[in-house]
Symmetry: C2
Subunit: 304 residues, 2 copies
C-alpha cells in the first residue's frame, strides 16, 4: 500500500478565525485526541502578532506544553524572522511560511507586497537552514485570485523553484479560497511533477465548493502523497472573501483508506477528535461524511 502523509492544520488554519477563544488546555486536549487517532504531523499554532490573531497569543506556552515531541512532527507558522526567532526560542523544529501567489492577496493577507513577502520568506528559509530547522512554504491562492484573476501555472512553479533554491524543504500548494477544480489540479501537478518532482510537494485544499476530495484524488492520481487537512473541517481563511471550510481530516482519511492508501490514522479516532474540537469552538463541526459515520449500522464496516 502507498503511504500518504496527512498534516493536521486545524489548530492553526482552523482555530485562527474562530470567534470563541480556545484555552491552551483545550488545544492540548485536541492535540492529544489527534495523536490518539494516529496523526503524526500537526501544525499547532502560529507565532504571529497576538493583536492580529488573538487566538494564537499562547503560541509559546502551547508549544512548550506539547506531548510526545520525540515522535510527533509539530510545525508552527511564522510570518517573518521575528516570529521565527520567537518560535525557535521555545524549541520549534519545523516552521511554515505563507506566500500568496498574487500581490493583492499578499497585501490583504499580511499587508506586504509579494516581493516584500518573498524577501521575508527567504530570510526565514535561510536562517532555518542554518539552524537545522525544517522549513515548509505555502504557495497559496493559486488558480484564481479574486482580485487579480487567473494565476498562471508558470508563476506558481517559478515561485516553488525559487523557494527550493533558497533552501525550503517542502512546498505546499494551497487553495485557501476553495477555487480549485480537479482538472486544473491535475494539470498543475502534472506540470510541477515534470519540473520539480513531487517528493517535496504537498497539497492543501479547502472544501468551499465541495470539490476538495475530487481535487485530492486528482493530485493523488498524479502522484502527490502529502496532504493538509483540518479536523472537523474547522476553519477557513479569515481575510479571504467567501472562503469557508478546510478539507476535513475525517473526509480525507476515509477516502484515502477506501482508496487503499495507508495513513496510520483511524477514522473512529478522528470522530472522537471532532467531538473534542466541537467542545472547544462550541459549535457543530464535522466533515461531509460525518452524518454517514454517525448513522452507519453495524452491517457496513467503515473500511472495505
Amino acid at each position: 500500500m502507498d503511504l500518504v502523509r496527512v498534516n493536521e492544520v486545524g489548530l492553526r488554519d482552523g482555530l485562527q478565525n474562530q470567534p470563541v477563544m480556545v484555552t491552551t488546555e483545550g488545544k492540548l486536549a485536541l492535540v492529544q485526541a489527534l495523536i490518539t487517532a494516529g496523526l503524526k504531523n500537526i501544525e499547532v499554532t502560529s507565532f504571529v502578532s497576538p493583536k492580529a490573531v488573538p487566538q494564537m497569543a499562547d503560541a509559546a506556552d502551547l508549544y512548550k506544553a506539547l506531548p510526545a515531541k520525540d515522535r510527533i512532527v509539530y510545525s508552527v507558522l511564522v510570518p517573518n524572522l521575528k516570529g521565527y526567532e520567537r518560535a525557535v526560542e521555545v524549541g520549534v523544529k519545523s516552521v511554515t511560511f505563507v506566500l500568496a501567489a498574487s500581490d493583492t492577496m499578499n497585501r490583504k493577507n499580511i499587508n506586504m507586497s509579494l516581493e516584500q513577502t518573498k524577501t521575508a520568506c527567504c530570510e526565514v528559509i535561510r536562517q532555518a537552514g542554518k539552524d537545522g530547522v525544517t522549513s515548509r512554504t505555502y504557495i497559496s491562492g493559486l488558480f484564481l485570485c479574486p482580485f487579480e484573476g487567473p494565476i498562471p501555472d508558470e508563476r506558481i512553479i517559478e515561485m516553488a523553484e525559487e523557494m527550493f533554491q533558497t533552501g525550503t524543504n517542502e512546498v505546499i500548494i494551497a487553495d485557501p479560497l476553495g477555487l480549485a477544480n480537479p482538472t486544473r489540479v491535475y494539470q498543475l501537478f502534472c506540470s510541477i511533477s515534470r519540473k520539480l518532482g513531487l517528493d517535496r510537494i504537498s497539497a492543501h485544499f479547502h472544501d468551499t465548493r465541495a470539490m476538495a476530495l475530487a481535487n485530492v484524488w486528482a493530485a493523488l492520481h498524479v502522484g502527490v502523497r502529502k496532504f493538509d487537512s483540518s479536523i472537523g473541517g474547522l476553519g477557513g481563511c479569515p481575510f479571504a472573501p467567501q472562503a469557508s471550510g478546510n478539507l476535513a481530516t475525517e473526509d480525507l482519511v476515509l477516502m484515502l483508506s477506501q482508496c487503499a492508501f495507508e495513513t496510520g490514522i483511524d477514522v473512529e479516532g478522528l470522530r472522537k477528535a471532532v467531538k473534542v474540537a466541537e467542545g472547544l469552538v462550541k459549535r457543530p463541526l464535522g466533515g461531509r461524511m460525518m452524518p454517514w459515520l454517525e448513522s452507519r449500522a453495524e452491517l457496513l464496516p467503515i473500511t472495505y
Copy 2:
C-alpha cells in the same frame, strides 16, 4: 470543449422514497424548472406497482402531461414487461431497467432472484428493440454488496456485455449505496473501456460518503461522458440500509463547468429548480456547494 450529458433522476430516484406525496402538477412544475435550467435528459417516473411506490401512481398521467416532448428526452423506469407495456401505451420512447449486481440485493429490492431479474430485463430490452423504444439498463449495487461482499469487476462487465448483446442501448453503472471510491471507479471504468468502450456507458453515483464528485472526476478522467444526478441531491435508495443522497445536479454541473466541460445547463437555473423541489418535498434540499452558491458575493463569478 468536451460535451457531457447530464441525466436528471430526481423525479424518479429522488421522489420515490419521499414521505410527502407530490402532486402531478408539482412534478410538472419541477420538470419545467429543470428544462429552464437547460436539462435535456430527464428520468421522470417509474411504471411500478402503485402499492409498492405510491409516489409513482400518477406515472401515466404525468407522462401524458409532459411539455416539449419533441426536444427533451424523457425516460421512465419499468420493472418488467407489464410496466413496459403500460409505459409505451402512453407514448414513452425511452425506458430504464434496474439490474442489481448481487442476487441478495435483487431479492431485497424487487423480490426476485438475479436470474429472474435478468430474464425480465431481457424481455423488456427485446420488446423495446422491436418497438423502436430506447432501453437503458442500470447495473446497480456494484463495488460492494452489504449482504454479499465485494462484487468483482468481471461480473459487472459480463452483465453489461450480456445486456448489450440482448440489445440495450446503454448501460448505467450505478452505485446507489454510495460505496464507490474514486480509485475503484477509475479501475472499473478502465476495465469497461477496454472491453466495451465508453460510448454507451453512463455513471450514477450517490454522495452518501461525500465521494460522489471525486468518483465523477475519476470516471471523467477515464473518458465517461454521461452522468446521472438528482436536483438538490433529492433521494436515496428506499430499500438499501444507510443509503442517502443522490449526487446533486448542481454539484455535478458546477464541477463540470469548472473543469471546462460543456453541459448546456445553467447553475443559476438549477438553484431555482432546487427551490421548486424544496417546495414539493417540504424540506431543505441542496447539494454540498449550495451554501457557497447562496452566499457568494458579486466579486466572484460562478464560472471562471
